[in-house]
């Protein structure tokens, strides 16, 4: 390849990288899980540096291997969170009538606490009093901490690449 062509290619690539970077910086997303953690690195082994909660707005600054580096609104410290915890939709926690119409006909917003919610679950429980939701609540409290998980995997010599292949 001639020097001229190489320079042109380098220029085109840097423009592409620059513009895609600028595009990412403007992306706003919402946390779509009950509670999540922002980590120092794009991995579940990364140190937890902050918590985020359902409906929190975050600005996506970068992405890597299914992880997003985000800055929560009003905060100064960014952190990494897995993409599956985020949605491009704006989550409206207290919906007005306009929000409902918009949610019913568009893809931009989602309504928190709408549709199948705790109110519906309670109505269901009243009709089905023998069903054991206490055990479900107990199940949800079974949460393994990061340090316990790390210790468990190390003690069992479970590490990526540790299988037969």
């Amino acid at each position: 390849m001639s020097l001229g062509k190489r320079t042109l290619l380098a220029f085109v690539m840097s423009v592409f990288l620059l513009t895609s970077g600028v595009g990412l910086a403007a992306t706003m997303k919402s946390v779509q899980i009950k509670e999540g953690a922002l980590r120092s690195t794009p991995s579940f082994m990364g140190k937890i540096i902050a918590k985020v909660f359902y409906g929190d707005r975050v600005e996506e600054m970068a992405s890597k291997n299914g992880w997003a580096k985000v800055m929560p609104a009003g905060k100064t410290q960014p952190g990494w969170i897995h993409d599956s915890a985020l949605t491009h939709k704006k989550i409206v926690l207290t919906a007005g009538k306009g929000d409902v119409d918009q949610a019913a006909t568009g893809d931009e917003i989602a309504l928190a606490g709408k549709g199948f919610n705790d109110q519906v679950e309670n109505a269901f429980k009243e009709k089905n009093p023998k069903m054991d939701f206490k055990m479900i609540d107990q199940m949800e409290n079974m949460v393994v901490s990061d340090s316990r998980m790390r210790q468990f995997l190390q003690a069992g010599q479970v590490h990526p690449g540790g299988g037969s292949q």
Binding site: G66, V100, V120, E121, K130, M131, M135, E140, M149, G156
Partner: protein
């Protein structure tokens, strides 16, 4: 709160959509949604042209057509969470929990480590695992990440890697949202219609009762599939394939899946209708996954030792 006229109007649209979804042939899910939207648009245009509807009513129908032409993919993680909790409570009606703290902690350590390596590591309420006190060989996953495994199933596992394979298979069902896909399309349509009717935070009595009925039917759709009919062979293949990927990502040997299936083959008794009824035969599952994995199973001694202790007595 919306006036009665508008409620009736939306209800009519919902019923029309339900009717359309019942009679239109669905070549595939996405094309089906498209068909429903198209049907709604054509219907509205015809209505406006013939003077039956006003122009604004026709526009509303077209809008609502978009609203009802939605699929399980529109069920938010929060709603999936509530569906999963109730499906979980139904599964607990089938088999009681097995009150063994050490074994329960052990499968949560394995399962939650695996869930982080899936393609859907974050769900609204997270992944949680429970052992059920039954000799039947079974494992079930509710939408959102509540996973249940019987003592009978754990007895088919001779190693931690085999337990990991069972749990990773169930995580695969959650990851691909197979449970939600068992909900009849008409239920999602119906829920969306009710949602369009009620705009305030708290549902009124009528809407709540409608939504609860839709909820109950959706739960029944899922539990009938999970417990009675089983998923399609294609979904089971997807879950087995996910199990190989997920176990390997964490560092377990995917041969654990083959080991477990061989043991299951030995233990499944003719006439027993639990797992055999809802899953492909172990032999055909082995034939599928064996080409995906390599050499024979090797388990470090420390891992095997803790497996023996944690599941002793199960």
């Amino acid at each position: 709160m919306m006036n009665a006229g508008r409620r009736e109007f939306l209800r009519t649209i919902g019923q029309a959509a339900l009717f359309s979804s019942g009679i239109l042939p669905f070549a595939g899910f996405l094309s089906g949604c498209k068909t429903l939207e198209t049907a709604s648009r054509i219907g509205a245009q015809v209505g406006a042209a013939t003077g039956v509807l006003t122009e604004s009513q026709a526009q509303s129908i077209q809008k609502s057509g978009r609203a009802v032409a939605r699929s399980f993919e529109e069920i938010t993680p929060e709603q999936e969470y509530y569906i999963g909790r109730t499906v979980g409570a139904r599964i607990l009606q089938k088999y009681q929990p097995y009150p063994n703290r050490r074994a329960t902690t052990y499968i949560n350590l394995i399962g939650q480590s695996l869930s982080r390596a899936s393609d859907l590591p974050e769900t609204f309420g997270g992944y949680h695992f429970l052992i059920q006190d039954s000799d039947e060989i079974n494992a079930l996953a509710a939408p959102g990440g509540l996973v249940f495994v019987t003592r009978g199933m754990l007895r088919c596992c001779r190693s931690e890697d085999a337990v990991a394979a069972v749990l990773a298979h169930e995580i695969g069902h959650v990851q691909y949202r197979h449970g939600l896909q068992a909900i009849k399309k008409s239920r999602v349509t119906s829920a969306m219609t009710t949602l369009g009717i009620e705009g305030t935070k708290t549902f009124g009595g009528q809407e709540l009762s409608e939504l609860t009925e839709t909820f109950e039917k959706s739960i029944a759709d899922i539990t009938n599939t999970l417990i009675n009919n089983g998923y399609s062979r294609a979904f089971e293949r997807q879950a087995d394939s996910a199990a190989v990927t997920i176990t390997r990502r964490v560092g377990y040997d995917p041969n654990g899946l083959v080991e477990m299936l061989k043991e299951m083959q030995r233990q499944l008794k003719p006439g027993r209708i639990d797992f055999a009824k809802t899953h492909p035969a172990p032999q055909s599952r082995i034939a599928l996954v064996e080409p995906m994995i390599g050499a024979s199973l090797w388990i470090p001694e420390a891992r095997q030792h803790r497996f023996n202790i944690a599941l002793a007595g199960v």
